[in-house]
């Protein structure tokens, strides 16, 4: 059990000028489930591999349990990792795959087998111990990979998109299993995903990365409610937040003719800002910004209304959430009203959040 700390950790691939991970500062508490999320190329996997020791750290440091592991080879870091493709050795049985780290650690065969069986029982895989990976389904392989990670009782679990090769339904189920397992074991876990929904449901805290830089780290609710910049705002939440370039005058913006009063953040301020509105911050009503419905996506109780409207003279797409039973029809003309208390404001230049 240990905490994890990145201190100004930097990775620069040769032949490139832009660091893949740029001076990353991040602390993961002991026992915490930390999710690294970001689009592809954001550096999240590189950051994880730096922690594992699979990627050289060019500057800064990585600490596990207060110990500087920056230059230690992977085997000396006491971490376990689950890979996207599971990396199960095709020539070993399930039991041997699970027990592989113990074998590397020089544990006796009988003891290895006992522990592997124990782990398999915990994962509900006892029946498969003698099989080869090729005889397993995707979900079963995933479990074996988990088993191989937990058998050694490492101080940190590392998971690199472990669910991305599963189908949607299985993914949701495994998500819950992983969360439960982590809760039971209480092992510090760093989990990489590009799926923000997975991040939000799994992580105690979530770190959002983009272009190698840490954008924001915090609890899922915090990221959703108070995205620290325009990128996080756009990345977290599905469908994505509506981001509109608007002009602020005297603490209020003109939203397609509607005047929306904003809070103290921009009191009396003027200039170009980005107004961020989650779909639920837009109400379909009888008055407000006129828009034309393009598509309606129904999800049981809710529906998302994709429409286009004129804002500041430009055609802008807007998504609003509504009750499914009250959803308008395609091509219908609707009016959108903003809930000012739910609006986010970002600096047009820097993208930083304005106000609290």
């Amino acid at each position: 059990m240990a905490d994890v700390r990145y201190e100004q950790a930097t990775k620069l691939y040769s032949g490139t000028d832009v660091p893949a991970v740029d001076a990353l500062d991040l602390e993961v508490e002991d026992g915490e489930f930390m999710v690294l999320v970001g689009p592809s190329g954001s550096g999240k996997t590189t950051a994880l591999r730096m922690l594992a020791g699979l990627e050289e750290v060019d500057a800064g440091a990585v600490l596990i349990g207060g110990r500087d592991v920056t230059d230690l080879p992977p085997k000396k870091r006491d971490v376990a990792m689950v890979f996207q493709n599971y990396a199960l050795y095709p020539y070993l049985t399930v039991s041997q795959n699970i027990a592989f780290p113990l074998k590397m650690a020089g544990v006796k065969k009988a003891e290895r087998e006992r522990q592997a069986a124990e782990v398999a029982r915990r994962l509900g895989m006892e029946r498969y111990l003698g099989r080869k990976p090729s005889q397993l389904s995707g979900g079963e392989r995933q479990r074996v990979a988990m088993g191989r990670a937990i058998i050694r009782q490492p101080s940190v679990f590392l998971m690199d998109e472990p669910l991305s090769n599963l189908d949607a339904k299985l993914r949701v189920q495994m998500r819950a299993d992983i969360a439960a397992l982590q809760r039971d074991l209480g092992v510090t876990t760093v989990y990489v995903t590009h799926d923000q929904a997975e991040a939000m449901t799994l992580g105690h805290r979530v770190a959002v990365l983009d272009h190698g830089r840490l954008q924001q780290v915090g609890e899922p609710r915090e990221l959703y409610d108070r995205p620290t910049n325009r990128f996080v705002a756009g990345f977290i939440g599905s469908p994505a937040m509506n981001l509109c370039d608007v002009t602020c005058e005297h603490g209020a913006v003109s939203f397609g003719g509607e005047r929306v009063e904003l809070g103290p953040a921009v009191a009396n301020g003027s200039g170009a800002v980005v107004l961020g509105l989650r779909p639920e911050a837009l109400e379909v009503g009888l008055e407000g910004l006129p828009a034309r419905v393009e598509v309606v996506e129904e999800f049981g109780a809710d529906a998302f209304v994709f429409s286009s409207a004129q804002i500041g003279g430009e055609e802008t797409r807007l998504v609003a959430r509504t009750e499914a039973r009250r959803a308008p029809a395609q091509g219908e003309r609707i009016f959108l009203r903003v809930k000012p208390e739910e609006a986010h404001l970002f600096d047009a230049e820097t993208g930083q959040r304005l106000g609290a």
Binding site: Q8, T10, G15, E56, D58, A59, D71
Partner: protein, 337 residues
């Protein structure tokens, strides 16, 4: 296939930013890694130095000396090269024979391999058996295969001429006729075309089906498909086969040596059998490596043989280079690697 393209290439260049200053730990880790590479590479480093680099340099040095292995090499300047280019009556014959062999055998090998591979790819039944039959000769030890061919092509009693005789045709003298000895060797080579054939077959079967299907929809006939789909798709493999077989041709020795010795059939009590039989009949199978062997290892003119080696080195290099450079024009590259 490369999994992490970004991870490719040499050492990390560290920009001079203070945040990226070198740390002692990193240097230690880098040294550890270099030591690992060195350890893993050590067999090759030793092997390359001792069995390749050193002899290559020595070859060049010895080529300027007179050396019979009994007394130390004596520097004689370019005399060996003068003899090589002006006086040695056999060198030109050997060069011509070698070039003839490459020019005839390589295209035939590619054609046969390709033809058989196409027929196999199209066959519905017995592909496994046919493939085995075509591959087996490639396995036959060259000495054994050559002995077999010399017997089968014996002008008087060999089965081929006997069968031809039944058809009313007088068969050629094969390994006893300077005009037929090289074609007989080429036949032996083509018989052993199995390796190339297997590679071609795999390549032909690897051509994506949808390419044929779309070509067919575009109205391409059998030959157009061959010309515009199959050939371009497997052109890298053809290039490989050509380069590989040319290299084999440049070092063609065993079959020529054995065939000449066995066909000449001169018994061991007459003079020095080996040297006098090399190239039989009438120097028609005297290939460059055979002549090099004769000068180096029956005459033990190590200096002169080294000069021949150096020439072979230059020519091999040049030929390979010419083929590879020209190949850009006709080899289809799937994607830059």
């Amino acid at each position: 296939m490369r999994l992490r393209p970004a991870a490719d290439a040499g050492a990390v260049s560290v920009p001079a930013s203070p945040a990226l200053a070198r740390r002692p730990g990193k240097r230690r880790a880098a040294w550890r890694r270099r030591r690992l590479v060195l350890l893993l590479m050590s067999p090759w480093i030793v092997g390359f130095t001792v069995f390749f680099g050193y002899p290559l340099v020595m070859s060049v040095y010895l080529s300027f000396t007179h050396y019979d292995l009994l007394s130390s090499p004596r520097w004689i300047g370019t005399a060996n090269y003068r003899y090589l280019f002006h006086d040695d009556p056999q060198v030109w014959t050997a060069v011509k024979n070698t070039l003839w062999y490459i020019a005839v055998a390589v295209p035939l090998q590619v054609l046969f391999a390709f033809g058989i591979a196409l027929m196999l790819a199209r066959a519905r039944r017995g592909v496994g058996i046919f493939r085995t039959i075509f591959y087996l000769p490639a396995l036959a030890p060259p000495v054994a295969a050559t002995l077999g061919f010399v017997y089968i092509l014996n002008p008087a009693t060999g089965p081929v001429n006997v069968l031809l005789g039944h058809l009313g045709v007088q068969g050629p003298l094969w390994f006893h006729d300077p005009h037929w000895s090289k074609p007989a060797l080429v036949a032996l080579t083509v018989w052993g075309v199995g390796n190339t054939m297997v590679i071609f077959l795999a390549a032909v079967l690897d051509v994506p089906r949808h390419l044929y299907e779309s070509a067919e929809l575009d109205g391409a006939g059998v030959f157009s498909r061959l010309r515009w789909v199959t050939l371009p798709s497997i052109s890298p493999v053809i290039l490989f086969a050509v380069v590989f077989n040319v290299i084999q041709g440049l070092q063609y020795f065993t079959q020529a040596y054995v065939a000449a010795g066995v066909a000449a059939g001169q018994a061991s009590q007459a003079a020095d059998v080996t040297a006098v039989n090399l190239g039989y009949p009438q120097d028609s199978t005297l290939f460059y490596p055979v002549l090099l062997y004769q000068h180096g290892f029956t005459d033990f003119q190590m200096g002169y043989a080294s000069a021949m080696s150096v020439l072979l080195l230059v020519v091999s290099f040049a030929i390979t280079l010419v083929i590879v450079l020209n190949s850009r024009r006709w080899v289809y590259q799937a994607a830059p690697r």
